[in-house]
Protein backbone atom coordinates (compact mmCIF):
# COMPACT_ATOMS: atom_id res chain seq x y z
CA UNK A 1 0.00 0.00 0.00
CA UNK A 2 1.31 3.44 -0.88
CA UNK A 3 2.23 5.83 1.90
CA UNK A 4 0.59 8.95 0.56
CA UNK A 5 1.74 11.13 3.39
CA UNK A 6 5.28 11.11 2.03
CA UNK A 7 4.07 12.10 -1.40
CA UNK A 8 2.20 15.23 -0.45
CA UNK A 9 3.60 18.72 -0.73
CA UNK A 10 4.67 20.10 2.62
CA UNK A 11 2.67 23.33 2.35
CA UNK A 12 -0.48 21.40 1.58
CA UNK A 13 0.14 19.00 4.45
CA UNK A 14 0.55 21.88 6.85
CA UNK A 15 -2.45 23.76 5.53
CA UNK A 16 -5.10 23.83 8.26
CA UNK A 17 -8.56 22.77 7.12
CA UNK A 18 -11.06 25.60 7.20
CA UNK A 19 -12.41 26.28 10.68
CA UNK A 20 -15.98 25.87 9.56
CA UNK A 21 -15.50 22.42 8.08
CA UNK A 22 -16.08 20.68 11.40
CA UNK A 23 -19.27 22.65 12.05
CA UNK A 24 -20.51 21.97 8.59
CA UNK A 25 -20.13 18.24 9.18
CA UNK A 26 -21.92 18.32 12.53
CA UNK A 27 -24.67 20.62 11.28
CA UNK A 28 -25.24 18.47 8.20
CA UNK A 29 -25.64 15.34 10.27
CA UNK A 30 -28.34 16.83 12.50
CA UNK A 31 -32.02 17.37 11.78
CA UNK A 32 -33.85 20.66 12.23
CA UNK A 33 -30.75 22.81 12.14
CA UNK A 34 -31.16 26.49 11.36
CA UNK A 35 -28.00 27.99 9.99
CA UNK A 36 -26.96 31.61 9.79
CA UNK A 37 -23.64 30.47 8.47
CA UNK A 38 -23.91 30.98 4.75
CA UNK A 39 -21.65 33.34 2.83
CA UNK A 40 -23.86 33.81 -0.19
CA UNK A 41 -26.96 35.90 -0.95
CA UNK A 42 -30.35 34.18 -0.68
CA UNK A 43 -31.83 35.60 -3.89
CA UNK A 44 -32.26 33.42 -6.90
CA UNK A 45 -30.23 34.98 -9.72
CA UNK A 46 -32.41 37.61 -11.49
CA UNK A 47 -34.24 36.00 -14.38
CA UNK A 48 -32.82 38.14 -17.18
CA UNK A 49 -29.34 37.01 -16.14
CA UNK A 50 -30.31 33.34 -15.98
CA UNK A 51 -31.96 33.74 -19.36
CA UNK A 52 -28.74 35.10 -20.85
CA UNK A 53 -26.91 31.96 -19.69
CA UNK A 54 -29.62 29.74 -21.17
CA UNK A 55 -29.57 31.67 -24.42
CA UNK A 56 -25.80 31.18 -24.69
CA UNK A 57 -26.26 27.45 -24.23
CA UNK A 58 -29.22 27.27 -26.63
CA UNK A 59 -27.34 29.08 -29.37
CA UNK A 60 -24.22 27.00 -28.93
CA UNK A 61 -22.07 29.74 -27.48
CA UNK A 62 -20.18 27.16 -25.51
CA UNK A 63 -16.68 27.24 -26.98
CA UNK A 64 -13.61 28.44 -25.13
CA UNK A 65 -13.31 32.18 -24.96
CA UNK A 66 -10.11 34.25 -25.02
CA UNK A 67 -7.99 33.45 -21.96
CA UNK A 68 -8.70 36.84 -20.48
CA UNK A 69 -12.41 36.34 -21.10
CA UNK A 70 -14.89 37.73 -23.61
CA UNK A 71 -13.87 41.20 -24.68
CA UNK A 72 -17.48 42.36 -24.42
CA UNK A 73 -17.57 41.26 -20.80
CA UNK A 74 -14.29 43.02 -20.02
CA UNK A 75 -15.69 46.14 -21.65
CA UNK A 76 -18.87 45.96 -19.60
CA UNK A 77 -16.88 45.45 -16.39
CA UNK A 78 -14.70 48.47 -17.15
CA UNK A 79 -17.83 50.52 -17.92
CA UNK A 80 -19.32 49.33 -14.66
CA UNK A 81 -16.27 50.27 -12.58
CA UNK A 82 -16.18 53.71 -14.16
CA UNK A 83 -19.93 54.21 -13.74
CA UNK A 84 -20.17 53.07 -10.14
CA UNK A 85 -16.75 53.65 -8.59
CA UNK A 86 -15.19 56.26 -10.86
CA UNK A 87 -12.18 54.11 -11.77
CA UNK A 88 -10.95 53.73 -15.33
CA UNK A 89 -9.35 50.55 -16.68
CA UNK A 90 -8.55 49.46 -20.21
CA UNK A 91 -10.61 46.38 -21.14
CA UNK A 92 -7.92 45.17 -23.54
CA UNK A 93 -5.06 44.83 -21.13
CA UNK A 94 -6.01 45.90 -17.61
CA UNK A 95 -8.86 43.49 -17.00
CA UNK A 96 -9.22 39.71 -17.00
CA UNK A 97 -12.01 37.28 -16.13
CA UNK A 98 -11.40 34.55 -13.55
CA UNK A 99 -13.32 31.64 -12.10
CA UNK A 100 -14.79 33.59 -9.23
CA UNK A 101 -12.83 35.89 -6.98
CA UNK A 102 -11.28 32.71 -5.57
CA UNK A 103 -9.19 31.96 -8.62
CA UNK A 104 -8.14 35.60 -8.73
CA UNK A 105 -6.80 35.39 -5.15
CA UNK A 106 -4.84 32.27 -6.10
CA UNK A 107 -3.22 33.46 -9.31
CA UNK A 108 -2.42 36.94 -8.04
CA UNK A 109 -0.59 35.59 -4.99
CA UNK A 110 1.21 32.92 -6.99
CA UNK A 111 2.27 35.43 -9.60
CA UNK A 112 3.83 37.88 -7.16
CA UNK A 113 5.29 35.82 -4.31
CA UNK A 114 8.79 34.42 -3.96
CA UNK A 115 9.80 32.20 -1.08
CA UNK A 116 9.93 34.19 2.14
CA UNK A 117 8.11 37.27 0.83
CA UNK A 118 5.90 38.77 3.47
CA UNK A 119 2.24 39.53 2.92
CA UNK A 120 0.44 41.72 5.41
CA UNK A 121 -2.98 40.41 6.29
CA UNK A 122 -5.34 42.54 8.38
CA UNK A 123 -7.44 40.17 10.48
CA UNK A 124 -10.08 38.93 11.21
CA UNK A 125 -10.06 38.09 7.53
CA UNK A 126 -11.71 35.90 4.95
CA UNK A 127 -10.42 32.37 5.36
CA UNK A 128 -8.76 31.81 1.97
CA UNK A 129 -5.99 34.41 2.00
CA UNK A 130 -3.60 32.92 4.57
CA UNK A 131 -3.56 29.36 3.16
CA UNK A 132 -2.99 30.61 -0.39
CA UNK A 133 -0.19 32.91 0.74
CA UNK A 134 1.45 29.95 2.46
CA UNK A 135 0.90 27.70 -0.53
CA UNK A 136 2.77 30.31 -2.57
CA UNK A 137 5.61 30.10 -0.01
CA UNK A 138 4.89 33.57 1.29
CA UNK A 139 4.83 34.51 4.95
CA UNK A 140 1.66 35.86 6.53
CA UNK A 141 2.13 38.89 8.76
CA UNK A 142 -1.09 39.54 10.61
CA UNK A 143 -2.27 42.98 11.61
CA UNK A 144 -5.10 43.17 14.10
CA UNK A 145 -8.16 45.22 13.27
CA UNK A 146 -10.06 45.89 16.47
CA UNK A 147 -13.73 46.33 17.19
CA UNK A 148 -12.92 49.66 18.89
CA UNK A 149 -11.58 50.94 15.56
CA UNK A 150 -14.63 49.68 13.69
CA UNK A 151 -12.51 46.84 12.26
CA UNK A 152 -10.60 49.31 10.10
CA UNK A 153 -6.93 49.12 9.14
CA UNK A 154 -4.96 51.74 11.09
CA UNK A 155 -1.69 53.40 10.14
CA UNK A 156 0.33 52.76 13.31
CA UNK A 157 -0.40 49.04 13.21
CA UNK A 158 0.35 48.79 9.52
CA UNK A 159 3.63 50.60 10.04
CA UNK A 160 4.80 48.07 12.62
CA UNK A 161 4.06 45.20 10.25
CA UNK A 162 6.10 46.51 7.33
CA UNK A 163 9.60 45.14 6.83
CA UNK A 164 12.05 45.07 3.92
CA UNK A 165 10.48 41.73 2.96
CA UNK A 166 6.96 43.09 2.63
CA UNK A 167 5.70 42.39 -0.87
CA UNK A 168 1.97 42.98 -0.59
CA UNK A 169 -1.02 43.57 1.60
CA UNK A 170 -4.39 41.85 1.17
CA UNK A 171 -7.41 43.94 2.09
CA UNK A 172 -11.09 43.10 1.89
CA UNK A 173 -13.52 45.95 2.48
CA UNK A 174 -16.45 45.67 3.03
CA UNK A 175 -15.16 42.81 5.10
CA UNK A 176 -16.12 39.21 5.47
CA UNK A 177 -16.52 38.49 8.43
CA UNK A 178 -16.74 41.85 10.23
CA UNK A 179 -18.82 43.96 7.85
CA UNK A 180 -16.29 46.78 8.39
CA UNK A 181 -15.51 49.25 5.62
CA UNK A 182 -12.76 51.77 4.79
CA UNK A 183 -13.58 55.26 3.62
CA UNK A 184 -11.50 57.63 1.51
CA UNK A 185 -9.90 59.32 4.51
CA UNK A 186 -9.07 55.97 6.09
CA UNK A 187 -7.16 55.01 2.95
CA UNK A 188 -5.53 58.43 2.71
CA UNK A 189 -4.05 57.90 6.17
CA UNK A 190 -2.11 54.80 5.02
CA UNK A 191 -1.41 55.89 1.44
CA UNK A 192 2.10 57.31 1.91
CA UNK A 193 3.18 54.29 3.91
CA UNK A 194 2.18 51.95 1.09
CA UNK A 195 3.67 54.14 -1.63
CA UNK A 196 7.01 54.69 0.12
CA UNK A 197 7.46 50.99 0.76
CA UNK A 198 6.52 49.95 -2.77
CA UNK A 199 3.81 47.55 -1.59
CA UNK A 200 1.26 45.91 -3.84
CA UNK A 201 -2.29 46.15 -2.56
CA UNK A 202 -4.57 43.23 -3.32
CA UNK A 203 -8.01 44.72 -2.80
CA UNK A 204 -10.79 42.15 -2.68
CA UNK A 205 -13.91 44.24 -3.30
CA UNK A 206 -16.42 41.44 -3.70
CA UNK A 207 -18.86 43.11 -1.27
CA UNK A 208 -18.46 46.60 -2.79
CA UNK A 209 -22.13 46.93 -3.72
CA UNK A 210 -23.17 46.15 -0.18
CA UNK A 211 -21.90 49.36 1.42
CA UNK A 212 -24.70 50.93 3.42
CA UNK A 213 -25.60 54.62 3.33
CA UNK A 214 -22.19 55.43 1.85
CA UNK A 215 -20.55 54.94 -1.50
CA UNK A 216 -17.97 52.20 -1.76
CA UNK A 217 -14.45 53.59 -2.08
CA UNK A 218 -11.63 51.50 -3.50
CA UNK A 219 -8.08 52.06 -2.36
CA UNK A 220 -7.40 52.60 -6.07
CA UNK A 221 -9.46 55.79 -5.78
CA UNK A 222 -6.39 57.26 -4.03
CA UNK A 223 -4.69 58.47 -7.16
CA UNK A 224 -1.09 57.67 -6.23
CA UNK A 225 -2.09 54.12 -5.23
CA UNK A 226 -3.96 53.12 -8.36
CA UNK A 227 -0.86 51.57 -9.92
CA UNK A 228 -0.10 49.67 -6.69
CA UNK A 229 -3.59 48.21 -6.56
CA UNK A 230 -4.84 44.88 -7.85
CA UNK A 231 -8.62 44.89 -7.64
CA UNK A 232 -10.38 41.56 -7.26
CA UNK A 233 -14.12 41.50 -7.69
CA UNK A 234 -16.83 39.30 -9.14
CA UNK A 235 -20.50 38.73 -9.78
CA UNK A 236 -21.30 36.43 -6.87
CA UNK A 237 -22.42 38.84 -4.18
CA UNK A 238 -23.65 41.84 -6.16
CA UNK A 239 -25.97 39.86 -8.45
CA UNK A 240 -26.42 36.69 -6.41
CA UNK A 241 -24.49 34.61 -8.97
CA UNK A 242 -22.30 32.50 -6.69
CA UNK A 243 -22.67 29.26 -8.64
CA UNK A 244 -21.78 30.88 -11.97
CA UNK A 245 -18.19 31.36 -10.79
CA UNK A 246 -17.32 34.59 -12.54
CA UNK A 247 -14.78 36.96 -11.04
CA UNK A 248 -12.30 39.43 -12.43
CA UNK A 249 -9.07 41.30 -11.84
CA UNK A 250 -8.38 44.95 -12.61
CA UNK A 251 -4.73 45.98 -12.51
CA UNK A 252 -1.87 47.52 -14.47
CA UNK A 253 -1.04 45.88 -17.79
CA UNK A 254 2.28 44.24 -16.81
CA UNK A 255 0.60 42.57 -13.84
CA UNK A 256 -2.39 41.32 -15.84
CA UNK A 257 0.04 39.78 -18.34
CA UNK A 258 1.68 37.77 -15.57
CA UNK A 259 -1.61 36.69 -14.00
CA UNK A 260 -2.86 35.62 -17.39
CA UNK A 261 0.18 33.37 -17.85
CA UNK A 262 -0.89 31.21 -14.92
CA UNK A 263 -4.57 31.47 -15.82
CA UNK A 264 -4.07 30.30 -19.42
CA UNK A 265 -2.35 27.10 -18.33
CA UNK A 266 -4.45 26.24 -15.29
CA UNK A 267 -7.92 27.41 -16.29
CA UNK A 268 -7.95 28.39 -20.00
CA UNK A 269 -11.00 30.55 -19.48
CA UNK A 270 -14.01 30.97 -17.22
CA UNK A 271 -17.21 29.14 -18.16
CA UNK A 272 -18.55 30.59 -21.39
CA UNK A 273 -22.31 30.59 -20.61
CA UNK A 274 -21.48 32.14 -17.24
CA UNK A 275 -19.54 34.87 -18.99
CA UNK A 276 -22.56 35.65 -21.17
CA UNK A 277 -24.73 35.81 -18.07
CA UNK A 278 -22.20 38.18 -16.52
CA UNK A 279 -22.37 40.49 -19.56
CA UNK A 280 -26.12 40.79 -19.01
CA UNK A 281 -25.58 41.44 -15.30
CA UNK A 282 -22.96 44.15 -15.78
CA UNK A 283 -24.95 45.80 -18.55
CA UNK A 284 -28.49 45.66 -17.18
CA UNK A 285 -28.20 44.65 -13.55
CA UNK A 286 -27.92 47.95 -11.70
CA UNK A 287 -31.58 47.74 -10.70
CA UNK A 288 -31.11 44.23 -9.27
CA UNK A 289 -28.22 45.52 -7.20
CA UNK A 290 -30.41 48.29 -5.77
CA UNK A 291 -33.18 45.88 -4.82
CA UNK A 292 -30.89 43.39 -3.10
CA UNK A 293 -28.99 46.20 -1.40
CA UNK A 294 -32.19 47.56 0.11
CA UNK A 295 -33.33 44.17 1.29
CA UNK A 296 -29.96 43.43 2.93
CA UNK A 297 -29.92 46.83 4.57
CA UNK A 298 -33.35 46.25 6.10
CA UNK A 299 -32.36 42.84 7.40
CA UNK A 300 -29.14 44.29 8.82
CA UNK A 301 -31.17 46.88 10.74
CA UNK A 302 -33.45 44.14 11.97
CA UNK A 303 -30.82 41.69 13.15
CA UNK A 304 -28.65 44.30 14.88
CA UNK A 305 -31.65 45.60 16.81
CA UNK A 306 -32.65 42.08 17.81
CA UNK A 307 -29.13 41.01 18.82
CA UNK A 308 -28.79 44.04 21.05
CA UNK A 309 -32.21 43.35 22.54
CA UNK A 310 -31.24 39.81 23.53
CA UNK A 311 -27.98 41.00 25.03
CA UNK A 312 -25.33 40.48 22.35
CA UNK A 313 -23.77 43.90 21.96
CA UNK A 314 -23.50 44.48 18.22
CA UNK A 315 -22.38 47.49 16.20
CA UNK A 316 -24.23 48.40 13.05
CA UNK A 317 -21.83 47.14 10.37
CA UNK A 318 -21.50 49.35 7.31
CA UNK A 319 -21.02 46.66 4.72
CA UNK A 320 -21.40 43.05 3.50
CA UNK A 321 -24.13 40.81 4.96
CA UNK A 322 -22.53 39.77 8.22
CA UNK A 323 -22.61 40.95 11.78
CA UNK A 324 -19.73 40.08 14.04
CA UNK A 325 -20.89 40.38 17.65
CA UNK A 326 -18.62 39.84 20.63
CA UNK A 327 -19.43 36.86 22.80
CA UNK A 328 -16.69 37.62 25.33
CA UNK A 329 -19.27 38.25 28.07
CA UNK A 330 -20.11 34.54 28.03
CA UNK A 331 -16.52 33.62 28.97
CA UNK A 332 -16.58 30.97 26.27
CA UNK A 333 -14.26 30.65 23.32
CA UNK A 334 -16.03 31.22 20.05
CA UNK A 335 -15.60 27.54 19.25
CA UNK A 336 -17.20 26.45 22.53
CA UNK A 337 -19.98 28.96 22.03
CA UNK A 338 -20.82 27.71 18.55
CA UNK A 339 -20.50 24.04 19.44
CA UNK A 340 -22.77 24.35 22.48
CA UNK A 341 -25.25 26.47 20.56
CA UNK A 342 -25.43 23.92 17.79
CA UNK A 343 -25.75 21.10 20.29
CA UNK A 344 -28.42 22.71 22.48
CA UNK A 345 -30.43 24.81 20.07
CA UNK A 346 -29.68 23.45 16.62
CA UNK A 347 -28.46 26.84 15.50
CA UNK A 348 -25.31 27.04 13.39
CA UNK A 349 -23.12 30.15 13.46
CA UNK A 350 -19.50 30.45 12.42
CA UNK A 351 -16.94 30.89 15.22
CA UNK A 352 -14.86 34.04 14.88
CA UNK A 353 -11.67 32.04 15.37
CA UNK A 354 -12.22 30.56 11.88
CA UNK A 355 -11.13 33.99 10.59
CA UNK A 356 -7.81 34.05 12.43
CA UNK A 357 -6.73 34.37 16.05
CA UNK A 358 -8.04 37.93 16.10
CA UNK A 359 -11.56 36.65 15.55
CA UNK A 360 -11.52 34.83 18.89
CA UNK A 361 -14.31 36.07 21.13
CA UNK A 362 -16.63 36.81 18.23
CA UNK A 363 -19.10 34.93 16.05
CA UNK A 364 -20.02 35.58 12.44
CA UNK A 365 -23.73 35.79 11.78
CA UNK A 366 -24.93 36.03 8.21
CA UNK A 367 -28.24 37.77 7.58
CA UNK A 368 -28.63 36.51 4.03
CA UNK A 369 -31.77 34.72 5.20
CA UNK A 370 -35.49 35.39 5.15
CA UNK A 371 -36.99 37.39 7.99
CA UNK A 372 -38.74 34.26 9.23
CA UNK A 373 -35.48 32.32 9.41
CA UNK A 374 -33.75 35.18 11.18
CA UNK A 375 -36.61 35.39 13.70
CA UNK A 376 -36.41 31.70 14.52
CA UNK A 377 -32.65 31.92 14.88
CA UNK A 378 -32.90 34.90 17.22
CA UNK A 379 -35.44 33.01 19.33
CA UNK A 380 -33.04 30.09 19.69
CA UNK A 381 -30.09 32.36 20.40
CA UNK A 382 -32.05 34.23 23.06
CA UNK A 383 -33.05 31.00 24.79
CA UNK A 384 -29.43 29.85 24.65
CA UNK A 385 -28.05 33.07 26.14
CA UNK A 386 -30.60 32.93 28.97
CA UNK A 387 -29.59 29.36 29.78
CA UNK A 388 -25.96 30.30 30.36
Amino acid sequence: MMIFDELINIQVKEMAPSGIRKFFDIASSKKGVISLGVGEPDFITPYHIREAAMHAINTGKTFYTANKGLLELRQEICNYYLRRFNLSYNPNNECMITVGGSEAIDIVLRAILNEGDEVILPTPSYVAYAPIIQLSKGKVVEVTMTEENGFKLKKDQLKKAISDKTKAIVINFPSNPTGGIMEYDDYLEIADLIKENNILVISDEIYAELTYDKKHVSIANIEQLKENTIIINGFSKAYSMTGYRVGYILAEKPLIEMFNKIHQYTIMCASTPSQFAAIEAAKNGDKDIEEMYLSFKQRRNYIVKELNRIGLRTHLPEGAFYVFPSIKSTNMTSNEFCETLLDKENLALVPGSAFGADGEGYVRISYAYSLEEIKQAIERLERFLKSL
Binding site: S18, A27, E40, Q298, R299, N301, Y302, L371
Partner: protein, 161 residues
Protein backbone atom coordinates in the same frame (compact mmCIF):
# COMPACT_ATOMS: atom_id res chain seq x y z
CA UNK B 1 -38.46 55.68 4.25
CA UNK B 2 -42.10 55.99 3.19
CA UNK B 3 -41.33 54.36 -0.14
CA UNK B 4 -39.44 51.53 1.56
CA UNK B 5 -42.30 50.94 3.98
CA UNK B 6 -44.86 50.88 1.17
CA UNK B 7 -42.76 48.42 -0.84
CA UNK B 8 -42.52 46.09 2.15
CA UNK B 9 -46.28 46.28 2.72
CA UNK B 10 -46.96 45.79 -0.96
CA UNK B 11 -44.98 42.55 -0.84
CA UNK B 12 -46.49 41.38 2.43
CA UNK B 13 -49.63 43.04 3.79
CA UNK B 14 -49.39 40.93 6.93
CA UNK B 15 -45.95 42.13 7.96
CA UNK B 16 -45.99 43.17 11.60
CA UNK B 17 -45.48 46.74 12.73
CA UNK B 18 -42.64 45.71 15.06
CA UNK B 19 -40.86 44.06 12.14
CA UNK B 20 -41.35 47.07 9.92
CA UNK B 21 -39.92 49.29 12.63
CA UNK B 22 -36.84 47.09 13.06
CA UNK B 23 -36.26 46.69 9.32
CA UNK B 24 -36.49 50.42 8.72
CA UNK B 25 -34.52 51.33 11.83
CA UNK B 26 -37.30 53.34 13.44
CA UNK B 27 -39.92 52.91 16.18
CA UNK B 28 -43.38 51.42 16.08
CA UNK B 29 -45.16 54.68 16.68
CA UNK B 30 -43.60 56.23 13.58
CA UNK B 31 -44.71 53.23 11.52
CA UNK B 32 -48.22 53.25 12.94
CA UNK B 33 -48.57 56.98 12.28
CA UNK B 34 -47.33 56.59 8.73
CA UNK B 35 -49.63 53.69 7.95
CA UNK B 36 -52.59 55.62 9.34
CA UNK B 37 -51.69 58.67 7.30
CA UNK B 38 -51.31 56.56 4.15
CA UNK B 39 -54.70 54.99 4.72
CA UNK B 40 -56.32 58.37 5.23
CA UNK B 41 -54.72 59.83 2.15
CA UNK B 42 -55.65 56.74 0.16
CA UNK B 43 -51.98 56.04 -0.54
CA UNK B 44 -52.70 52.61 0.89
CA UNK B 45 -55.92 51.75 -0.92
CA UNK B 46 -56.53 48.33 0.59
CA UNK B 47 -55.06 45.07 1.86
CA UNK B 48 -55.81 41.91 -0.07
CA UNK B 49 -54.84 38.29 -0.07
CA UNK B 50 -53.80 36.59 -3.27
CA UNK B 51 -55.86 33.41 -3.31
CA UNK B 52 -55.05 30.53 -5.58
CA UNK B 53 -58.66 29.32 -5.79
CA UNK B 54 -57.76 26.34 -7.88
CA UNK B 55 -55.73 24.92 -5.01
CA UNK B 56 -58.67 25.53 -2.69
CA UNK B 57 -60.81 23.35 -4.96
CA UNK B 58 -63.17 26.22 -5.46
CA UNK B 59 -64.20 27.09 -8.93
CA UNK B 60 -64.39 30.72 -9.81
CA UNK B 61 -64.62 32.22 -13.23
CA UNK B 62 -62.72 35.30 -14.25
CA UNK B 63 -62.88 37.21 -17.47
CA UNK B 64 -61.05 40.09 -18.99
CA UNK B 65 -63.34 42.33 -21.01
CA UNK B 66 -62.21 44.88 -23.56
CA UNK B 67 -64.75 47.68 -23.84
CA UNK B 68 -64.85 50.36 -26.49
CA UNK B 69 -66.80 53.46 -25.74
CA UNK B 70 -67.41 57.03 -26.83
CA UNK B 71 -66.18 59.82 -24.59
CA UNK B 72 -68.68 62.29 -23.19
CA UNK B 73 -68.40 66.05 -23.70
CA UNK B 74 -66.62 67.66 -20.68
CA UNK B 75 -66.32 64.41 -18.76
CA UNK B 76 -64.26 62.33 -21.18
CA UNK B 77 -64.25 58.72 -19.97
CA UNK B 78 -64.50 59.40 -16.24
CA UNK B 79 -68.26 59.24 -15.94
CA UNK B 80 -68.61 55.98 -17.80
CA UNK B 81 -65.73 54.53 -15.83
CA UNK B 82 -67.46 55.45 -12.59
CA UNK B 83 -70.58 53.56 -13.66
CA UNK B 84 -68.62 50.45 -14.58
CA UNK B 85 -66.46 50.56 -11.44
CA UNK B 86 -69.51 50.69 -9.19
CA UNK B 87 -70.52 47.14 -10.06
CA UNK B 88 -69.10 44.85 -7.36
CA UNK B 89 -68.46 42.13 -9.96
CA UNK B 90 -65.81 44.38 -11.49
CA UNK B 91 -62.51 43.55 -9.83
CA UNK B 92 -60.23 45.91 -11.76
CA UNK B 93 -60.80 48.58 -14.36
CA UNK B 94 -58.25 50.33 -16.53
CA UNK B 95 -58.42 53.00 -19.21
CA UNK B 96 -55.91 51.93 -21.82
CA UNK B 97 -54.36 53.01 -25.09
CA UNK B 98 -54.89 50.78 -28.10
CA UNK B 99 -57.87 49.41 -29.92
CA UNK B 100 -60.37 49.70 -27.08
CA UNK B 101 -60.81 52.20 -24.29
CA UNK B 102 -61.27 50.06 -21.20
CA UNK B 103 -59.99 46.75 -19.93
CA UNK B 104 -61.82 45.32 -16.98
CA UNK B 105 -61.38 42.16 -15.00
CA UNK B 106 -64.49 40.57 -13.57
CA UNK B 107 -65.07 37.72 -11.15
CA UNK B 108 -68.07 35.42 -11.09
CA UNK B 109 -68.96 31.97 -9.90
CA UNK B 110 -70.12 30.67 -13.30
CA UNK B 111 -69.73 31.54 -16.97
CA UNK B 112 -73.46 32.20 -17.08
CA UNK B 113 -73.13 34.83 -14.38
CA UNK B 114 -70.47 36.65 -16.34
CA UNK B 115 -72.39 36.37 -19.59
CA UNK B 116 -75.43 37.84 -17.86
CA UNK B 117 -73.40 40.66 -16.44
CA UNK B 118 -72.08 41.58 -19.86
CA UNK B 119 -75.45 41.29 -21.57
CA UNK B 120 -77.63 42.93 -18.96
CA UNK B 121 -75.38 45.36 -17.13
CA UNK B 122 -72.31 46.28 -19.10
CA UNK B 123 -73.30 46.37 -22.77
CA UNK B 124 -76.46 48.47 -22.22
CA UNK B 125 -74.55 51.32 -20.54
CA UNK B 126 -74.95 54.42 -22.66
CA UNK B 127 -71.72 55.24 -24.48
CA UNK B 128 -70.45 51.68 -24.61
CA UNK B 129 -70.13 50.55 -28.21
CA UNK B 130 -68.68 47.05 -28.16
CA UNK B 131 -67.43 44.51 -25.67
CA UNK B 132 -65.07 41.60 -26.14
CA UNK B 133 -65.11 39.01 -23.37
CA UNK B 134 -62.04 36.89 -22.82
CA UNK B 135 -62.54 34.13 -20.26
CA UNK B 136 -59.43 33.45 -18.23
CA UNK B 137 -58.45 29.83 -18.74
CA UNK B 138 -55.57 29.60 -16.32
CA UNK B 139 -53.83 31.96 -13.93
CA UNK B 140 -50.06 31.81 -14.00
CA UNK B 141 -49.06 34.87 -12.05
CA UNK B 142 -51.05 37.36 -10.00
CA UNK B 143 -49.62 40.49 -8.38
CA UNK B 144 -46.08 39.21 -8.72
CA UNK B 145 -46.85 35.78 -7.30
CA UNK B 146 -46.39 32.68 -9.43
CA UNK B 147 -49.41 30.43 -8.89
CA UNK B 148 -47.91 27.06 -9.67
CA UNK B 149 -44.91 27.29 -7.37
CA UNK B 150 -42.47 24.48 -7.45
CA UNK B 151 -41.92 23.07 -4.03
CA UNK B 152 -39.35 25.01 -2.07
CA UNK B 153 -36.42 27.18 -2.97
CA UNK B 154 -33.24 25.75 -4.44
CA UNK B 155 -31.05 24.67 -1.57
CA UNK B 156 -27.94 26.39 -0.35
CA UNK B 157 -25.20 24.69 1.63
CA UNK B 158 -25.59 24.96 5.41
CA UNK B 159 -22.34 26.84 5.85
CA UNK B 160 -20.00 28.48 3.41
CA UNK B 161 -16.97 30.69 3.68
Amino acid sequence: MLKEMLSLLEKNARIEVTDLAALLNTDEKTINDQIKECEEKNIIAGYHTIVNWENANTEIVKAMIAVSSTPERDKGYDHIAEIIANYPEVNSLYLVSGRTEFILIINGSTMREIADFVAHRLAPIEGINTTETMFILKEYKIMGEIMDKENGKPERLLMTL
